[in-house]
Each structure stands twice: as structure tokens, then as C-alpha cells.
């Protein structure tokens, strides 16, 4: 089946798969958004506990999606894995650090003998939610603004900026992308909590936080859209494999791929609609609109970066070192084998959805603190 596809078709298929996993990860960062909102939404210990326990039942899924995103990139586009992770060292190390802190914080926070105290673990959750997500956003921004690296004839890379990736945060576009992601994750987090917890005070605060954080993200979104439509991009000449700077490249991409335009517009409208519904009605379906909205918007961003003969990981140090989905990918054989493995993904998504439907049938409320369940809480 997949073996008959041309190498370029497999490369495109895998850009879709990686983009989908990346977009699902951004949706799942509602966990990180909720973490950074903890101080805003929860005032008492019990409220805090409800919020933490609500997020705490999902954090591993987000984490696993991030791990899979890394694994899928490694398997499908190993040159990106090598160039970016080994090059933009400090950004990735910082991201890893914040996620490692998160991994233990839920479990350790309330436990006797946890060495650092609950406050410190809550701070770790905040750092992961704010700085971790900001850096992830800045890293995605470099898909459009480029990085300082060079790849030699043997495809081995060297980084040419002394800040080793942290320089990405100095570019306004990348910073805006980071802040956009932070506010988006907070809006998503608030909508998730509205849906998942039954507690009047928390709900009131979460509804207002959802709308407010949506408002905060609007200027960054507009700035990014404006930049994308006007900035120069990194065009690939498919005949020669050379990369050149092209004016309005991403605008051209948008025009050339109407489906991407549709994804982008639908995505943004869904997020905006969700924010309004959450802020101004008593409906709890915000997360179910903003979730797909986030996935659509992110997909469109990934597609703009990688499709229509564009270098998805451009080098501004040496244009010809830029990575495209064609020169950075695994072999035909590996992409074929991986495609068969990826057939399992729909089943995985199905059992996750089914299990969570079972688990979330009863929403979290104050009754959790009574009886046997009290000992099971984070």
C-alpha cells in the first residue's frame, strides 16, 4: 500500500502526520494553560486541589503527545532532529527542564516529605505553563524566521550563533508566537476547567479567564497574521533543490492552498466563538470548539511552513543549508514502515477518547474530598 507511493508523497504524508501530532500537542497544552492560571482561578486550598486534580488527570497525555512529537520527528525528519536539537541546544534543554519539573509536580506537591513544599511544586507548574510554552512557541516561530546553522556535504550541522537557540526569543515574530501560544493555552485551560469541574466560584473565574486570555492573544495573532502575509519566505526550487528568499512567500502559499486558508479561518473562528460562548453564556462546550479550532489553526501554520516548496526549517546563515521536507526526511523504506505503524494512531485516539468518556462521565466536584476518593487525590 504505502510502498507504492513515491518518496515525495511519503514525505508529504509524514509532514501531515507530524503536523497533526504537533497540533494535537498544542491543543493538549490546555494542561499547561491551566497550570499557569492556578493562582488566578483557585483561591482556597480546596479550589486549588480541584483544579490540580482536574489537570492532573490529563497531564500525562499532553506529555506523551510531546514525546510522540519528538519521536515522530526523529523517525520521519531526522535531519531536523539533529540540526535543531543539537543546534538550538539551550532552547530545547530549557523546554526539557520545565517539562521534567512538571512531570513530578502533580505527584509530589501534596505528599509528605516532598522536600521543597507545595508552593515550590506549584511554581514548577507555573514555569512549565508559562516559560515552557513560550519557548515552544518561539521554536515554532523559527520555522518562518530562520536560524543560524550550516549543514555540510555529509549532512552534519553546526550552529553559528553563540546563544545556541535562545537568540530565537529576540526576534519579535518568535516572541509573539510564544506569547500567542501562552495565552491560547490559558484560554484553552480555562475552557477545559469550565467543562471538567463543577464548582461555582471556579467556573466564574475560569469563564472570565477564558475570555480575557482570548482578548490578550488577539493582538499577537493579528501581528503574526500580518507578518505571515507580508514577510519574505524561503522558497525551494524543486528542480534544482536550491533555496531562495521570496517576497510574500507565505501569502503565495496561502493562495496556492485554499484548504490551508480554510483551516486557518475556520480555526480562528472556532477559537473566537468558543471564547465568546464561554465568556458570555452558561454553556460548557467551549473546549470542544476551541480544541478543534486550535488543531485547525496549527495545522495551517505547519502546512504554510512546509508545503508548496517551502523550507520548513530555514537557515539565515546559509540559505542552502535550509531543511525542507524533501532533504530532511528518512528513506523511502523507513517512511513506508513508519506509515504502517502510524495506522495504529486512529485506534489509539479511539481508546483514549473512550476511556476518557468513561472517566469524565462524572465531573469533579467537592464530593471528591469525602470518603475513599479523598486519598486518591493529587
Amino acid at each position: 500500500m504505502f510502498g507504492n507511493l513515491a518518496h515525495t508523497q511519503l514525505q508529504e504524508l509524514w509532514w501531515i502526520v507530524v503536523s497533526l501530532v504537533g497540533s494535537l500537542f498544542v491543543f493538549m497544552t490546555f494542561v499547561q494553560g491551566g497550570q499557569s492560571l492556578l493562582g488566578t482561578i483557585a483561591k482556597t486550598d480546596r479550589q486549588k486541589s480541584l483544579v490540580i486534580n482536574s489537570l492532573g488527570r490529563k497531564w500525562e497525555l499532553t506529555y506523551t503527545t510531546l514525546v510522540l512529537f519528538g519521536g515522530a520527528f526523529f523517525a520521519a525528519f531526522p535531519k531536523f532532529y539533529a540540526t535543531s536539537f543539537g543546534g538550538a541546544y539551550w532552547v530545547w534543554i530549557a523546554i526539557l527542564f520545565t517539562f521534567s519539573l512538571q512531570a513530578v509536580s502533580y505527584e509530589f506537591r501534596k505528599k509528605d516529605g516532598n522536600l521543597l513544599g507545595a508552593r515550590v511544586y506549584e511554581t514548577f507548574l507555573f514555569i512549565n505553563g508559562a516559560i515552557g510554552i513560550l519557548l515552544v512557541g518561539a521554536a515554532v516561530g523559527t520555522f518562518f524566521t530562520g536560524s543560524h546553522f550550516q549543514v555540510n556535504a555529509f549532512n552534519l550541522s553546526s550552529w553559528k550563533h553563540p546563544l545556541r537557540g535562545l537568540e530565537a526569543a529576540l526576534v519579535p515574530f518568535n516572541l509573539a508566537m510564544g506569547l500567542l501560544l501562552v495565552f491560547l493555552s490559558r484560554a484553552l485551560g480555562a475552557m477545559y476547567l469550565v467543562n471538567n469541574i463543577r464548582h461555582a466560584k471556579i467556573e466564574e473565574k475560569a469563564r472570565s479567564a477564558a475570555f480575557r486570555n482570548f482578548l490578550y492573544l488577539v493582538p499577537f495573532l493579528l501581528y503574526i497574521l500580518y507578518s505571515l502575509l507580508t514577510m519574505q519566505g524561503f522558497a525551494l526550487d524543486p528542480a534544482t533543490g536550491t533555496i531562495s528568499l521570496e517576497k510574500g512567500k507565505y501569502f503565495v502559499n496561502l493562495m496556492a492552498m485554499p484548504i490551508v486558508m480554510l483551516l486557518l479561518i475556520t480555526g480562528i473562528l472556532l477559537i473566537a466563538g468558543a471564547a465568546v460562548i464561554t465568556g458570555y453564556t452558561s454553556k460548557r462546550l467551549g473546549i470542544w470548539l476551541a480544541g478543534p479550532g486550535t488543531v485547525f489553526t496549527c495545522l495551517s501554520i505547519f502546512f504554510l511552513a512546509g508545503f508548496n516548496n517551502t523550507a520548513f526549517y530555514p537557515s539565515i546563515f546559509d540559505l542552502q543549508s535550509s531543511l525542507t521536507i524533501y532533504n530532511a526526511s528518512s528513506s523511502h523504506y523507513t517512511l513506508t514502515a513508519m506509515s504502517y505503524i502510524a495506522l495504529a494512531v486512529p485506534f489509539v485516539l479511539a481508546y483514549i477518547a473512550w476511556v476518557w468518556k468513561l472517566m469524565d462521565a462524572k465531573k469533579l466536584d467537592a464530593s471528591e474530598f469525602d470518603g475513599e476518593t479523598a486519598n486518591d487525590l493529587y
Binding site: 506529555y63 506523551t64 514525546v67 505527584e107 509530589f108
Partner: protein, 507 residues
């Protein structure tokens, strides 16, 4: 390809990876074993309806959770360190190595993440049967993830199912099934997971023995120990057999590792197995003096272990470094010169301006490509791993490996006789034995990983080439950052677990 190798950076990157892997492996084996024990305990609860089994399950589950989260935290770092610290490796073998990592995500991690939450928070949210199913799935998911990562590791020890592509200058996969079912991969999986089962059993025995010594929760302790000891005993016997298989496979595909494990410098027919020995630290490859200051050997046993028949030859370090014509072993110096010819031809191939030159360079490359990796070694002696560390680690692991079944047998014997609570000396020893369990786990990985140095991929890619383009200072800084992080997590994790143990199960 690489003009020069900065060995101080390489060594710090090695140290950082070793640090992460060793910390990770403090938590993972317990996850592998304890997850199955949880499934057994809960199965007994569902089958008998006896609430005490539920309390037992929940008690061990709370300890499992602490351990599990630190395992996850260190695991993420490990995955990404392949990219951050071993960038050239990521490109040169990513085509093969990335696949099992992605498969691990799809097939294993989501099972763990999804059912872990049901296992912990689903007691009153899902049916008894579905809860039990979830607990089993956590055990299956954890061990499946071990399968995929050990397939990846097995491939590094014995690269199969691939070929070098001079166009892209990397190794590319040719046969997924060969990678998945490589004998080294299967050997790694069976040995590492069964050692995890063993540790799970030992952990339960250790904590329960402490309860018995303190005369607290004695009923729970004895019930837990009965299940854990049967599981641990079976696992520990399996560990011995898979360990033997691992040594046999090493002799086939990593003879240098086996030579280092045994401190065997001069190869022998009917070589003896060192039962106890102290190496002369000043002994160098190629020297004629005895490498041992003191040793007790079991005659012929190493030959049996390595080749499974007597009167056969086991090569030593010197045979592998300097060659042995009589045994048809090529010297490392010859391999180095062939490797250098391959590198030169590859460079010529890349620089060729016309078809004919390119083809000629390719032909030369193909003649020497088998030894490509050796071309990066600066001296034949560089092909020798740290013998002392490998030797002592191997012997500590093996000695402990034979001790563990005795501990489980002891528990079962005294339980059967009904006198376990009175065996103070034995219970004290059982408490301490957990540390021996961890020692065996870590020494096992030292044998596997230090014993194959200097290779990132056995025979193909030395660590010096696999590296990222970083400075020593950068890697030093992250080494100490991770050291601090891991130490804090370890201390916090142990403190939380000991408090939970002191608190005991809900009564």
C-alpha cells in the same frame, strides 16, 4: 566528515548521557516489575472479593506512582538527549533508530498514560472489571515501551537490517523485521524486563520485611511477600538464563565486550571463567605480564559460556587489537587503514565533479565501507573499552544474580514453615537486599554500555563522531544542571516513599 574531535566534549556528553540513563534506570525497572505485581494483587482482590487485597493493591500503587513519575521525567530527557547531545548520531542512524522510538510513543506510552489515570483515579468511576483491565494495561504498556527502547538499544549493540547510503552519508533501514527480531534486541528485552520483575519482587520483599521486623501490618506484608517471592523467584531464574544468552550473543557480535567483561587479554582455547579476581590496573593491551594480581578461575567455563562447546577459541583483547592470524582475526590497525580509505573515498565521492570520478570513488568506498567507523579511531588501542569498570561491574552483577533466587527461596521456605516473622537476621538481610538489587541493575547497564565503548553503534560509529557541535563548557553546565535536578528528584522521591511506607496501608 569531521575534521577533529573534541574528546573533552565527547567525555562530558558521555557523562551526561550516562547520568541520565543511570538515573532513569533507578526508576524504570521497578515500574516494569511492580506494575505486574499490582495487576496480580488486584486480580486476587477481584477474584476473592477480599478487601485486604484491595488495600494491598492501593498501598503498593501509591509507591508505584512516585517511582513512575520520576521515570517519566528522566525518560523525556533521555529521548531528547539523542538530539541535543548526539546530533550527528541522530542524522547518521536516525533513519533506523527513530522508528522504534516513534513506535514506542504510539504503541506503549499512550497505553501507559491513558490507563495509569484510570488505575489511580478510576476506583469509583469505572467498573471493577475495567479497573482491573486498566491495571493490567499499565503493566503491558510499561513493558511494551521497554521492548521498543531495547530494540533500539539492541540495534546499537548489533546493527542489522541496514546499509550505508553514500548519497546521504548515513545508514538507512532495509529490513524492519531484522531490526525488531535481532537476537541482541530480543536478548536485551528479555534480560532487562525480567531483571525489572526481579527488582519489583525484591522491592515488595524488602518493604514487607521491614513491616515484619517492626511487627506492623504483618498480614499484609506476608500476603504481599508470598506473591512477590513467587514472581521474583521465577524472574530471577529467567534472568540467569537470559544473562547466559546475552553473554553467548556478545561472544558472537561483540567479542571485545566479552573479553573486557572477563579481563581476558590473551585469547585461549578452553579459557577459564574468572570466579573472583583483582585486575592489575597498570596492565596495558599488548603486554605479556599477567593482567590479574589475583584470580580464581573455573577451567574451560568461559569457552563454554561463549561458544557452548569445549576446545574452541575465545579471543582476548590483544587478539582483537593486534590480530591473530591463526584464528583468522584481523587487527584493528588493518581495520583503521581500511576505514580511512573508506572515509577518503567518501570525501572524494562528495567532491567529484563528474560521473566517472564519482563512480570510481564509490567503487573504492564500497571495497572498504565495512570498516568505515574504524577510520575515525586514532590508535588501535582506542578500540578497547575500559576493562576494569566492565570487568568488576560484570562480576558484581553475576554474583548478585545468583544470590537473588536464594532470597526469594528463603522467603517462601520460611513462609511455608510459618516462621518468617521470627527470622530477624533473614528479614534484616532481605531489607538490605533491595540495595543489592539496584546495584545489580546499574552494574548490568554499565557492562552493556561501557563494555561497547568507543562505539555508539558497534563497529560503525564511534562516540567521537556521533556528537553534537557543542563546547565542553556548555555540556559541563547542563551536566551539572541535570545532576542537581536528578539529585533533588531522587531525594524527594525517596523521602516521599519512605514516609508512605512508614504510614503504611490504609487500615
Amino acid at each position: 566528515m569531521l575534521e577533529q574531535i573534541d574528546w573533552s566534549q565527547v567525555n562530558w556528553a558521555r557523562a551526561q548521557f550516562a547520568l541520565t540513563a543511570m538515573f532513569h534506570w533507578i526508576f524504570v525497572p521497578l515500574t516494569l516489575g511492580l506494575s505486574f505485581l499490582l495487576a496480580f494483587f488486584e486480580s486476587l482482590y477481584v477474584k476473592t472479593g477480599n478487601e485486604s487485597w484491595k488495600r494491598i493493591t492501593k498501598f503498593w500503587m501509591s509507591l508505584f506512582a512516585v517511582n513512575f513519575t520520576v521515570g517519566i521525567a528522566t525518560g523525556l530527557i533521555l529521548e531528547f538527549e539523542f538530539g541535543t547531545n548526539w546530533a550527528n548520531y541522530s542524522w547518521m542512524v536516525g533513519d533506523i533508530f527513530g522508528a522504534p522510538l516513534a513506535a514506542e510513543g504510539i504503541f506503549a506510552f499512550f497505553i501507559e498514560a491513558t490507563f495509569f489515570a484510570v488505575m489511580f483515579f478510576g476506583w469509583n468511576r469505572v467498573s471493577k472489571g475495567f479497573h482491573l483491565f486498566s491495571t493490567w494495561m499499565v503493566a503491558v504498556g510499561s513493558n511494551l515501551s521497554a521492548l521498543w527502547i531495547l530494540v533500539a538499544n539492541g540495534w546499537m549493540q548489533y546493527p542489522v537490517g541496514m546499509a550505508f547510503n553514500p548519497q546521504t552519508a548515513r545508514f538507512e533501514m532495509e529490513n524492519f523485521w531484522e531490526v525488531l527480531f535481532s537476537p541482541t534486541a530480543i536478548g536485551k528485552f528479555t534480560h532487562a524486563t525480567s531483571s525489572g520483575f526481579l527488582l519489583g519482587g525484591l522491592f515488595v520483599v524488602c518493604v514487607s520485611s521491614w513491616f515484619l521486623l517492626k511487627k506492623r501490618h504483618t498480614d499484609m506484608a506476608k500476603k504481599s511477600m508470598a506473591v512477590a517471592s513467587v514472581f521474583g523467584l521465577l524472574a530471577s531464574i529467567f534472568v540467569i538464563f537470559t544473562g547466559d544468552e546475552a553473554a553467548y550473543t556478545s561472544a558472537r557480535v561483540q567479542p571485545m565486550k566479552l573479553a573486557a567483561m572477563e579481563g581476558l587479554y590473551k585469547g585461549e582455547t578452553n579459557a577459564g571463567l574468572i570466579m573472583l579476581g583483582i585486575l592489575d590496573p597498570s596492565h596495558m593491551p599488548g603486554e605479556d605480564d599477567d593482567p590479574f594480581l589475583f584470580d580464581i578461575k573455573l577451567p574451560g567455563a568461559l569457552t563454554l559460556l561463549a561458544n557452548r562447546q569445549l576446545d574452541t577459541f575465545v579471543p582476548g583483547v590483544d587478539d582483537l587489537v593486534y590480530g591473530n592470524d591463526a584464528q583468522g582475526i584481523m587487527s584493528t590497525a588493518d581495520k583503521i587503514s581500511q576505514g580511512r580509505a573508506a572515509i577518503k573515498a567518501l570525501t572524494a565521492f562528495k567532491q567529484a565533479t563528474n560521473q566517472d570520478d564519482a563512480q570510481a570513488a564509490l567503487n573504492t568506498f564500497n571495497r572498504h565501507k565495512e570498516f568505515l567507523g574504524y577510520g575515525y579511531l586514532t590508535s588501535p588501542e582506542q578500540a578497547v573499552p575500559p576493562v576494569g569498570l566492565t570487568f568488576y561491574s560484570f562480576h558484581i552483577m553475576v554474583m548478585l544474580g545468583f544470590l537473588f533466587p536464594l532470597i526469594f527461596l528463603g522467603v517462601l521456605f520460611f513462609l511455608f514453615k510459618g516462621t518468617l516473622e521470627n527470622q530477624t537476621w533473614f528479614l534484616r538481610f532481605a531489607v538490605l537486599s533491595l540495595f543489592l538489587g539496584y546495584l545489580a541493575q546499574e552494574t548490568g547497564w554499565i557492562v552493556a554500555e561501557v563494555g561497547r565503548q568507543p562505539w555508539a553503534i558497534q563497529g560503525l560509529l564511534p562516540v567521537g563522531v556521533a556528537i553534537s557541535d557543542l563546547t565542553t563548557a556548555t555540556v559541563q553546565l547542563t551536566f551539572f544542571m541535570f545532576l542537581t535536578l536528578f539529585t533533588v528528584l531522587l531525594i524527594a522521591g525517596i523521602r516521599i516513599m519512605t514516609r508512605q511506607i512508614a504510614l503504611g496501608p490504609e487500615e
